[in-house]
Amino acid sequence: MHVQPDHLFAALADPTRRSIFERLSRDGEQPVRALTAGAGVSQPAISKHLNVLKQAGLVRDRRAGRETHYSANPKALQPLVDWLSFYAAFWSQRLDELEDLLDRMDQ
């Protein structure tokens, strides 16, 4: 799944969703019921938040009997790593290599 950084920011911009995501990252897989218990928000509201997190790739769900269990997928945060910084370092190094090559070429 390819999720744009904008969608990740939007999903994590909400404090309730952020706390759900942090809790799943910290405590591992949880059923919706357990997440509702500590949140002070109704179960439908929690389910709605979980769905937004799922669309952003931040959580995964697993059906077990009549309950749905959710777990965090922190790897989804990787798009937030700045490609611009990566390529700035990359090209700087490659241009050095290009100059070395030009020095070695005969004409």
Binding site: P15, P74, P79, W83, A88, R94, D100, M105
Partner: protein
């Protein structure tokens, strides 16, 4: 895919002591490109699709799917860098090389354009949550190393 939001570019300019024709060869001959950039199957022909191959990173396959956009020897070369399928972030950029004869050598300009800037408003809304996300990111990085 959303195409909204500002785009950012990377620009490098370097004066090199070799003539444009020689720099052009290093930019357009496949076996020479492999020496300084990446393994590739580049051909200097507009519309030609090729791949650049490097060592994979977490979140990136190490492959870059490219397409030649402009070939004007020995001054301008442009290719699409990435088609959005190689990394989790769906990066699609354009790399453009401009060579200008100067002082007996060449002014080499490289621009990579099309980086998606994370939405500034979203940044602001993140507020105090942002350091926590960075902390989580550090954990991910530590685990994937």
């Amino acid at each position: 895919m959303s195409d909204s939001g500002p785009r950012r570019s990377l620009v490098f300019e370097r004066q090199m002591k070799h003539p444009p024709e020689k720099v052009w060869r290093a930019l357009t001959e496949s076996y020479l490109i492999a020496e300084w950039l990446m393994e590739n199957d580049f051909v200097p022909k507009v519309g030609h699709r090729f791949t650049m191959r490097a060592v994979p990173l977490p979140g990136w396959s190490g492959i870059v799917n490219c397409e030649v956009l402009a070939v004007e020897p020995p001054h301008r070369l442009s290719y699409r860098w990435g088609d959005g399928t190689e990394s989790d972030s769906g990066l699609v950029t354009v790399v453009t090389w401009t060579l200008t004869a100067r002082d007996g050598g060449t002014l080499v300009r490289m621009e990579q354009s099309g980086f998606r800037a994370p939405d500034e408003l979203a940044f602001k809304r993140m507020g105090k949550g942002w350091p926590r996300v960075l902390e989580l990111l550090d954990n991910v990085a530590a685990r994937t190393n």
